[in-house]
Subunit: 161 residues, 2 copies
């Protein structure tokens, strides 16, 4: 099983070779995903930038998430995760974007228990992932980051288009 | 000596009590500062959002950093750090903003050796900090994050205005 660092190196190598780029839109991981994606040297060739949209109003003003979608589906939803990633792709002009939204804890968020998370990967291939993680705030955030990166590495590895 | 976590808790408690807010604009730390500031519960009351502007063009388009300032002073400079933090304050409408820019390594950046860093804290009190850190990429980034947070906690603690 690959470590987080190996996955990041695989992602950087793959995207560099293809001339593709990535950005992120983060809520509960709040910069942790961007930080992980830039933890290996060579990341500046593929990582363009990221937005941490911690408040709902920032998700709308900076990532163009429709406030009525947040109201209808709550902020911890596939729909909001998809719109966040689409917003990042547009703002940063990248091939791919990854978003995270969820309840880090210790309090529930809009009716969702701590550990309830959505990740969206958007680009030539789209994938949304729902997680229900155990543990404290730090475990929930780190579990989300490692899952997002492992899933994205796997998408790139088995990509046929 | 306080740990990073204690400093973050002090910052959250202080800003919550005052009804003040914070945002970040990050280059070399790439989300790590936002992640640290939201590592303790209660952060959502004071942390609004952040921009990771990894590429220079993103610093200009999203944080309104003047490209001629980058050209004149290089991206690792007090002037660019100040403009990044001012940009975040404006975009997120926060009381305070903290920015980071520097060479994480292993390669030099615009003539600056790895470990050369500027941090800017902007708000009711302004402070810029220059660092020359030793070590690998991870140590440089973590040293920048802990210095930014310790300095900001100290500014708040001894604030007289």
């Amino acid at each position: 099983m690959s470590t987080l660092k190996q996955h990041v190196e695989q992602i950087i190598a793959y995207l560099s070779e293809r001339g593709e780029t990535i950005s992120v839109a983060e809520s509960l991981t709040a910069g942790g995903l961007a930080n992980a994606l830039t933890s290996a040297s060579g990341s500046s060739a593929v990582f363009v930038g990221g937005i941490t949209a911690y408040r709902n109003e920032i998700k709308s003003t900076m990532l163009d998430v429709d406030p009525s979608i947040i109201e209808k589906h709550t902020v911890v939803s596939e729909e909001v995760a998809n719109q966040m990633a689409d917003g990042a792709r547009k703002v940063f002009g990248t091939t791919w974007a990854i978003s995270t939204t969820g309840a880090a804890g210790p309090e529930p968020l809009e009716g969702h228990q701590p550990g309830s998370v959505w990740i969206a990967i958007r680009g030539p291939i789209n994938q949304a992932i729902q997680l229900n993680l155990e543990g404290e705030r730090e475990q929930v955030r780190n579990g989300t980051i490692s899952t997002a990166i492992a899933t994205f590495a796997r998408i790139l590895k088995f990509r046929t288009i």
